[in-house]
Symmetry: C3
Subunit: 159 residues, 3 copies
């Protein structure tokens, strides 16, 4: 009879470490039987990009954004001690040593655990991202959908 | 009979994109009939600064902070890809193209929707900001007021 | 008869100003009789490091992290206007002038008020931090412990 707990995360950040934190909490919450949603907006959308570039018809600014933003979770930088890419290499090496899951693996696990991954359509428009560029299984929605879930959420985080 | 939902956002960040996210969520929540409060602290206070400089009697450090911090929402930088100010220009150009609301417009809309905009008096003291420098209609309070609202909040975010 | 309110903060950030905000909210909430937990993960763990270096048996990467990360709350930088360390000095000078509490004092006060300070064991492993390096009185736990508290929390923040 008791309702499920609900965890709703806004992933705004495009940093590897912050996205890791978001997905670790999301996977943990799903394992404890929460209903979990990650709402990706702004730079957080980069975590959902496919690695392969697509040739899409884009305007100049959209092409610039597409070029400058990391293509997928594995390419993202760190929020601290990025050191022109050396930081992420160190972190990934140390994660390998400790058998910790990488961000792409954490995202895959989240999809297997039925964490709802939503991409914010308004910021996709702004940054010129198309649905074909994002991972399969992602849902598309706006701030209204986010608020509907968060309004009933037990754990609401902005990361 | 049912009580209104309550959304309470701490805006700590002084980044244009993060402040946009905060105000988009706030305006969305107000449209869905939540009672909404944005508590501006630290660098988030800059979103509330008026554009015109005032000649106020300030100490040396306060003058330094006043000079170095962006004067108002329109002057804020990006959390990512700021590129010495090129990033904000690109974002604003792309926003114009998509008819998206700018941050100053989002703040105005929030005030029209009766979102409560609070400035944290403790950090105003630290950064040497005076009430005359901030937008009209802003309220002034401390962490106790924030906690009173957040303690009954449905959606609490730190941005 | 009424249950205590509960405030649960994830401190991910290693910035002096963000950690200050976290501890000000935590101390405020404790003063208003909330049960308060700060869960330190990733760079937020640095706030809990003791100032004195210990000679511990660490691998190469762990030594690198230990060197590069700030040793304790007093050594942390700012999220904005760090200016190679000038920003923190300015903030600390202005805090002194206003008799504001420093971060180490805020942490001490939190411990006196029985705020539960938790260090995330998973990220301690990743960054090569040992329990001997962290403040006395800190508890050690993982994401499951965090979720158990946050799931019943009134105010949940990610900082």
């Amino acid at each position: 009879m008791s309702e499920k707990k609900r965890t709703t995360i806004v992933l705004f950040s495009g940093d590897y470490d912050k996205a890791m934190a978001a997905y670790i909490i999301a996977n943990g919450a799903a394992a404890y039987d929460h209903e979990v949603t990650i709402f990706h907006t702004f730079w957080g959308l980069n975590a959902l990009r496919k690695e392969e570039p697509l040739t899409l018809n884009k305007g100049f600014l959209e092409k610039m954004f597409a070029k400058m933003m990391p293509r997928g979770a594995d390419k993202m930088g760190l929020s601290k001690m990025n050191f022109a890419g050396m930081g992420p290499k160190m972190i990934k090496q140390v994660m390998k040593k400790h058998n910790a899951m990488t961000l792409p693996q954490l995202i895959e696990m989240a999809q297997e655990q039925e964490v709802k991954l939503i991409a914010c359509t308004m910021t996709m428009d702004l940054l010129g991202l198309h649905q074909e560029e994002l991972l399969n299984g992602v849902e598309y929605a706006g701030v209204a959908a986010y608020l509907a879930e968060a309004g009933n959420g037990n754990v609401n985080l902005f990361i």
